[in-house]
Symmetry: C2
Subunit: 656 residues, 2 copies
Amino acid sequence: MAAKYTASSLSRYLDGEFWATKNLIREEISKCDLFQSSSYDLTLDQSRDLTAERLRYVLNLPTMRLHLKDQVKDKKNRFITKSLGITELVCSADMATGVKLGVVCGLYGGAVTNLGCPEQVEKWYLPVSELEFTGMFAMTERGHGSNVRGILTEAHYDPATQEFIIHTPCEDAQKMYIGNAMKGNYAAVFAQLTVNGESQGPHCFIVPIRDRDGVLCPGVTAIDMKHKEGLHGVDNGILIFDHVRIPRENLLRKFGSVSGDGLYSSPIQSKSSRFNAMLAALTPTRLGLTVQAMAAMKLGLIIAVRYSHSRRQFGPKDQDEVKIIEHQTQYLRLMPHLAAALALTFTTRYASHMMDEALSEGQDLQSNRSLQALVAGLKAYSTWENLACLQECRECTGGMGFMMENRIPALRCDSDVFVTFEGDNVVMLQVVVRELMTQYTRQLGNSPVSGLLRTWASSASDNLRTSFIGFNVDKIGDLNFLLKAVSYRERVLQRSLAARLYAKVEKNKDEFFGAWNSCLHHVTGLALAHVHRVTLEQFALAIQECQVKEDHALLTKFCLLHGTSLVYQERAWYLEHNYLTPTTSKQIRNQLLELCRSVKDEALKVVSDFNIPSCCIQAPIAGVTNPRATWAFYSIPEHPGDETSLLSKHKINAKL
Amino acid sequence: MAAKYTASSLSRYLDGEFWATKNLIREEISKCDLFQSSSYDLTLDQSRDLTAERLRYVLNLPTMRLHLKDQVKDKKNRFITKSLGITELVCSADMATGVKLGVVCGLYGGAVTNLGCPEQVEKWYLPVSELEFTGMFAMTERGHGSNVRGILTEAHYDPATQEFIIHTPCEDAQKMYIGNAMKGNYAAVFAQLTVNGESQGPHCFIVPIRDRDGVLCPGVTAIDMKHKEGLHGVDNGILIFDHVRIPRENLLRKFGSVSGDGLYSSPIQSKSSRFNAMLAALTPTRLGLTVQAMAAMKLGLIIAVRYSHSRRQFGPKDQDEVKIIEHQTQYLRLMPHLAAALALTFTTRYASHMMDEALSEGQDLQSNRSLQALVAGLKAYSTWENLACLQECRECTGGMGFMMENRIPALRCDSDVFVTFEGDNVVMLQVVVRELMTQYTRQLGNSPVSGLLRTWASSASDNLRTSFIGFNVDKIGDLNFLLKAVSYRERVLQRSLAARLYAKVEKNKDEFFGAWNSCLHHVTGLALAHVHRVTLEQFALAIQECQVKEDHALLTKFCLLHGTSLVYQERAWYLEHNYLTPTTSKQIRNQLLELCRSVKDEALKVVSDFNIPSCCIQAPIAGVTNPRATWAFYSIPEHPGDETSLLSKHKINAKL
């Protein structure tokens, strides 16, 4: 039934350039038995086994095998954009499988391909695409998750045997939350490298964890962390190394290597810059989180929007009850999230295209500060937005939304961890602002913090004037007004943050950490303002490129809604800065209500155009039959005709 | 270790008048094997059996048996306040047990005791306290959850046999989400009563569901709904009746009865008023939801606050890392929720005292409109506040907060349903406003809707002037300023809503449902403003009554924080209404940041003074050992001395 809109122009536009690959994956998932039923009632072991089987199935798909070989051999073929498209579909089918795919190919694979040399890739990653073994990614430690620079795992070089000795010196150095830790064969382990008694900072090593029969290697301990809120199919564990010896060749050597006679060399001199370069090389994986969050959001929205168009409750006296989507609160709770899901779709595509371009031109991702800032910011914004969206979907579907059959609870529990893993969101927002600041410094040729702050503080203010124009000339219902408003906010927050930090650090000689910490609320506000602005701009650009008139009109409404919602959320700030008057602020609220009302029926078309197979949707309240919960079934609602109004006279067929 | 603060004056003050009873329950739970381990890794059947065992244990406690007999025999002994105290502790130990206790004693028991006559109570409820059988509460139907007046289950009186025939006429009439449906013996079933072909509206009937051996009664079908997001120990099911015959005596007859020869009589003539009276009699149960949400919030806060004082991450260059509570974002995320938990403690007590007073004076709860409004509003505010709080606790504890051992995920999943069950929150907020409106009408002797609107619109405006005074005279850091601000907001929203509805219904002759629906965002805003105002007032009153100087000072800070947080959240509204200037609005933000910072260390004392047994806290990151997750253990943090600052020099003991 979901195939109804398969060929719609909007569906194709939302899919983007790899729509054919996506359709192939959709077909493969739809016909595979492993993906035909939900797994909420399995034991932990059953969940993990099923996820391993699903992962194996996905890796074994011809499309996927070909694609993984591209990862190794040819990065120029828009590899990242295509990867993210595949990832989103796998996550739609099962979040645990998507996350485990991310661990094996994105994190472990990304470490080997981005930090290793070609021979290392050949040896440690190509076999993954041949299903010979799987890998894991061991960065986080008990003592250091967010502050990853502080990791304590040791890697001492022993020139006598030309080996590294990987060791866990204390409890806080234990590698924790490692995905695939109970099943995987190799780990990409980050450890502090010491050569000849000299510390060279964190490096990444390939450490064999267990052989293909599952027997642990000597000196390696793996502790099962077992039960989590969600992602039950992902086996997270703790890795402890007791003087584990690995060959010299197991140091991934793109950013640093040790010669046979124990001489360390690296293309990057500063230890700190070297580690930054390694982290930057892993950026594409971070964008994967945004795509995973989007997959969850879209599923939640399909389910909630369809049920809201089926379910009826309350109504005018002596008349039939109305569809719950007609309640003002209901459309106000759901529609802004649908607009945000569209904005994220286009913004993620923009970021992945930027990455693909950079990689195809052989550029260093690290030097692209605006890309680093955007990806970090998108990770935080999208994962929070997803949780907020799923929570509204859960509440807007009432008791039905609390039942596991209807999918929303598991989606929420699975994706809850996204806001803190692979970079806690609050830390990500600080990365955004640091990257933006560094970007300015680079552009202006300064390097000391104080210089940067001073320059930033003055340069930003120059750009403000253009924004002010928007206030008088445009109307609030104009997309330009909204674009200027979000841009204005970012710039003012940026300028005022620079001024505050400058005053604290330069004038008052405050210690930097304390000064930064006292501005943290400001920092996170600026970072989100930055992401908000980019999402609205990218949404607006995507509309310009949309050729089909009806789609253009539909997307324009949702884009206005997204912009209105962003400005509405921050209207207190705009009022404080006299950018909105009390009257225009109230108009923004009315505009939000009116836009949400006006798109509520078209929302049905949009969620169908997400083109998600019904075996992924699963929820009976969204029209997917489930013999285990016949009581939850509601047919897929018809798109309301023009004659349908708030006081719809359609009869409810409540009789058996 | 939690006993450290057991005897503190603040702990006693937070416990209130039934501190001794609460201590007894704490001791009983702490020494009972059933409550010594968490149950997140059980199968559905195991969870349900354990919950049934736990419930049996609780019901069998001498304190509890005595208390339940009070429910039947003597309602004057502050029964509700005491019940809620016990409920909160049972919910702390296990939410499923608390909810099931609520179903059996609060909902089923409440229905029998409040809607039945003494003989009926003797027959159908006293045996529950003797552990002879358990009951369930069957109001919600598939087609009608929120709009409960629309229930379709039928109860036809058959004068020939002097029986009622309980029947499910269609799928939408099936009783759904019924707690204890797979284990309970009797159900309090709401059905549309028809006598002699005349409809008398919904009434409540005692229907035998299964005998004490678990065999279902003829004509009754029970379908297991099985897997939910949380509350796995509660067996929710669907009840279907196929012309089930029950004796005439099984109609709970306080608000309506049928004589042997088939004559219906009721003390209340209007069908609508009659059902309102029945619903009002069940109000105490609704307050139970607020207490359940409070139990979850307090647990989340204990865990998150303790871990935030133990865990260190980031810090000034070349110095030890700081405790994560020192990060501005961390205390800003947690402290307002701690203040709200305190406000809710005092407000719930106020509401329960009002109920106890009313019942002891033999008053009808229905006529107490402000109490009805408060209880409905508190249900919505507290359950949303709980979810927001637990989400912050989850995120503020990072990956550890995602692990089941650390309790937060299960608390969140268990309490997620509170926002939609026993009255969807959006519906509850509409109840608040309707009760407030009716209260005005009653006071003024009007009854038609239009009259009420006109009167309300004008009368409310008279009360506004006093509020305006606050704007010029007081400082924003003054509690009076905050109290006046929240009161002002409620009144303006009330007046403007009345004016809008009046214009739509009276002038434009709009249909009422449509007019109301077009103001729904306004309605929900007013309802929350009402609850906000009451919580701040009750917090302020509770401080006045606190005799211990140190506690008084501590609570005052948290009360200021609660008020500041409420005004900060709505600062856009205050700016739109010129109640705050841009400058004072920014000051409110600074005040919020400063208050959160100033209470972050004292938060450790407050959470300890919640006095929750460590077997209920469970979380290793909060200092409770768990042999299954030794890797998650962090000792209970010491209260920081005055010398501890942001740049604490305390060494981290990270070595093994």
